[in-house]
């Protein structure tokens, strides 16, 4: 056991750092994790990475993965977090792609993977429905065979960034009579431009348009767009959820968040001294950093296990719960740090797209929207209550 990077790993880190410093779009420095990005902003770094061959490090090499070790991937996320990079969205790269390369046909692999990698096609996740949130197996959207097509009807909801999406992966009921609800579901890829699809915005409490209702009325989809076997979609969906969870710890980003918080606290004044020197505030930041360290080492242990062939198991629920609690705490402390200037609602301004505001310090206007927005993290990706249920069942055996 040791924690040191090898000389090769240090060389790799330097290579990555140089590349990022040179190639990351300057105007997007510090924009990672913002809740008000445009489609172009989301894709800018993805496209640069694709050219370099680094947009999908975690994929198997035969499909265009980089073949990096888990240490290299750790370095990769650390270095990106240094500039607060806007990373490729998970829906294509980290969610549907593993399902396609694990369970998809050769045609599907050839058709979809390259454009996920390049950022040319944007994906959204059509799992949840009004009646099927935590209880995902309750999905009601139906896919009925009609010759070589499925006719799809139903309503999905909370579809993240579907307003930009070219494709979506959907869970649809193909056998309403199956003995168990989980057995009658199929995993279907749908072109979002197909007639009969309507995407309606849902505005969240921070004022952003991140999620949508997706209505499907007699949407005709070729059967060849089903991944894997009919009625086996639940298996693929669960496989995907485990992948979704392991990325969710967000350690590198939270580290960067703590740095930013410290910078804010150094600039805020309390009784003539920097807030960062205030004992009670400083100790709250330290506490958060200690919690983050515990998470980081838990993630490193999990990654080491995965490198030895253990797939992401129920342990990834720990990463999800602790990771999101830390992300939320970070936004709480940031909002506390900015004091009075947490109140003005200036989001969306200034119109020139710059990061400069005429009210309060430039770091303040996003503190409250981010705090509000990040409440989502303990709800989505399997709520934190559901994660605790998983640990109860799968690990404690109760």
């Amino acid at each position: 056991m040791n924690l040191d990077f090898s000389p090769e790993e240090i060389a790799f880190r330097d290579e990555v750092r140089t590349f990022i410093d040179k190639s990351y779009p300057k105007e997007l420095f510090g924009f990672g994790g913002r809740e008000d990005l445009s489609r172009e902003q989301y894709l800018a770094w993805h496209k640069v990475l694709a050219k370099k061959g680094w947009s999908t490090p975690s994929w198997p090499t035969e499909h265009g993965g980089t073949g990096w070790t888990s240490t290299q991937r750790y370095i990769w996320s650390e270095e990106n977090a240094r500039v607060d990079a806007i990373m490729p969205l998970p829906f294509g790269v980290a969610m549907v792609a593993p399902v396609i390369y694990t369970f998809g046909s050769d045609e599907q692999k050839a058709r979809f993977l390259p454009k996920i990698q390049s950022g040319e096609e944007w994906w959204c996740q059509g799992y949840s429905e009004p009646g099927a949130g935590s209880d995902l197996a309750a999905v009601k959207t139906t896919a009925v065979r009609d010759g070589d097509d499925y006719i799809i009807n139903g309503q999905k909801t909370w579809t993240t960034l579907a307003q930009h999406a070219d494709w979506g992966f959907f869970l649809c009921r193909t056998d309403p009579k199956a003995e168990k609800r989980q057995q009658g579901i199929s995993f279907i890829l749908i072109d979002m431009k197909t007639p009969g699809i309507e995407v309606r915005p849902i505005i969240t409490i921070d004022g952003s348009h991140e999620v949508n209702e997706t209505w499907l009325t007699d949407v005709r989809v070729p059967v060849e767009n089903r991944v894997g076997e009919e009625n086996m979609g639940w298996t693929y969906a669960k496989f995907l959820l485990a992948h979704e969870r392991s990325g969710i710890a967000g350690v590198a980003r939270s580290k960067r968040g703590i740095e930013k918080l410290r910078a804010i606290a150094a600039n805020e004044v309390i009784d003539g001294k920097p807030l960062s020197e205030d004992a009670s505030f400083a100790s709250k930041v330290s506490q958060l950093e200690i919690d983050l360290t515990a998470l980081e080492f838990t993630e490193l242990r999990t990654l080491a296990g995965e490198a030895q062939g253990k797939g992401p198991g129920p342990e990834s629920s720990i990463l999800k719960v602790k990771g999101t609690e830390i992300q939320q705490r970070l936004t709480e402390l940031t909002l506390e740090a900015v004091g009075h200037y947490g109140a003005p609602y200036l989001r969306g301004r200034p119109a020139d797209g710059s990061n400069t505001y005429d009210v309060g310090p430039d770091y303040a206007p996003h503190a409250a929207p981010m705090y509000l927005n990040m409440r989502k993290t303990s709800i989505y990706g399997g709520s934190n209550e559901i994660q605790r249920n998983i640990i109860t069942k799968m690990i404690l055996g109760l």
């Binding site: 309750a138 004044v269 009670s280 004091g339 200037y341 109140a343 003005p344 609602y345 409250a368 929207p369």
Partner: protein, 385 residues
């Protein structure tokens, strides 16, 4: 000891809660928040007609003879309905300064206008680098003949866009953060040299940055004693703190009730989510936090008239406890609503936002914990001597 409301107080509560039920439903409020002005002056006038704006003032001053308990009752109802109109800035703060520090002439001119809603006050105390320290002032008022000239920048002045008058704290002497050398002024918002940058707030109200550029005021603009205003400011701010605590208690009660109701309706895994024990206990914790918030509101409200240290400790203790409770209740209300809690369309998110913002009004949890600790240490030292 008596925790009952008087008949008049019961009537205030009933008439206000009826008005809110009839004219302040959630959809209406959403429309008002989005409107150009962001409030309803006619609603403000109606609240005045009901006598609410007179409630906390003595009969001698032309009021109804009530006090802090009346403010508490009003603010709890305001919290339940997420009422936007500026009762705290205008009546509790503006009115408070006049009540405790105003001359007969000032009361005659301004307090009457506050009670009738002919004047609306905002309280310009916070500064960009002063955080929650009421004495940390860079705004100055220099003696000029019999009057003063004001210069400075006040931050996040709640309700300033709706106000025609401002209460402004400024340094007339002493060094930055000194307890001495602070004075309080009434400034006409339309006065030459006053400019504002208006904006909405996260919780749907309006506020402004207010800039003073060589603003001349007469001697009659001074409230209370020159150079000796801090005591008056602290008193009014403690009253305002108790008022927003009452509001928070009202907000929490509704957020909790909405959550319990939602957990009854919402089914997952074939059962109402309210049947899951982990959520039941969470909602019990929310309930206990809310109950304690009411208790602390009563405590602080009833101690507003006591000696200075007792009053300050009570206000800070309440603000600490309610800041913590508000955060827990607000966050859990969203959590238990799941994705629905995240939507702007549902009322619960707006209750969460108001709770979030109340924590930073008149000092957050950390500020009041520190203040409480300092006051306690001061008492212990006195006792030891």
């Amino acid at each position: 000891m008596d925790f009952n409301f008087t008949e008049e107080q019961g009537m205030i509560r009933d008439s206000l809660s009826r008005l809110i039920r009839e004219k302040y439903d959630f959809e209406t409020r959403v429309g008002v928040v989005k409107s150009d002005s962001g409030w309803r002056p006619e609603m403000w006038a109606q609240l005045a007609e009901l006598g609410l704006l007179m409630a906390p003032f003595s009969e001698e001053d032309g009021g109804l003879g009530g006090g802090p308990v009346d403010v508490m009752i009003v603010m709890q109802e305001f919290g339940k309905g997420l009422v936007l109109e500026p009762f705290v800035p205008s009546v509790v703060c503006g009115g408070g300064f006049l009540k405790h520090g105003g001359t007969a002439a000032q009361k005659e001119e301004h307090l009457t206008a506050i009670m009738s809603a002919d004047s609306t006050f905002a309280f310009a105390y916070a500064e960009p680098r002063g955080r929650y320290n009421l004495a940390d002032l860079e705004t100055t008022a220099k003696k000029d003949g019999s009057g003063y000239v004001l210069n400075g920048h006040k931050a996040v002045v709640i309700a300033a866009p709706w106000a025609n008058k401002l209460i402004v704290t400024a340094r007339t002497g002493g060094g930055r953060r000194d307890a001495d050398g602070i004075s309080v002024f009434i400034v006409d918002k339309a006065a030459k040299g006053v400019s504002t940058r208006d904006y909405p707030t996260v919780d749907g109200r309006r506020a402004a940055e207010v800039y003073f550029d060589n603003v001349s005021v007469g001697a009659d603009a001074l409230i209370g004693e020159a150079d000796n205003g801090l005591g008056l400011i602290e008193r009014v701010v403690d009253e305002a703190t108790a008022a927003v605590c009452a509001e928070a208690a009202g907000v929490m009660g509704v957020a909790h009730a909405m959550t319990v109701e939602y957990s009854r309706q919402r089914k997952q895994f074939g059962t109402p989510i309210g049947k899951f024990q982990v959520l039941q206990h969470r909602m019990v914790d929310m309930f206990m936090e809310h109950e304690q918030s009411i208790s602390m509101t009563y405590m602080a409200t009833l101690k507003l008239g006591e000696d200075e240290v007792t009053r300050k400790k009570a206000a800070s203790a309440a603000k600490v406890r309610i800041g913590q409770a508000g955060r827990f209740v607000g966050q859990q209300a969203i959590q238990i609503h799941g994705g629905m809690g995240m939507t702007e369309e549902l009322a619960v998110g707006h209750y969460f936002k108001r709770l979030t913002m109340i924590d930073s009004e008149f000092g957050n949890v950390d500020h009041h914990l520190r203040r409480y600790t300092t006051l306690s240490a001061g008492e212990a030292k006195l006792a030891a001597e």
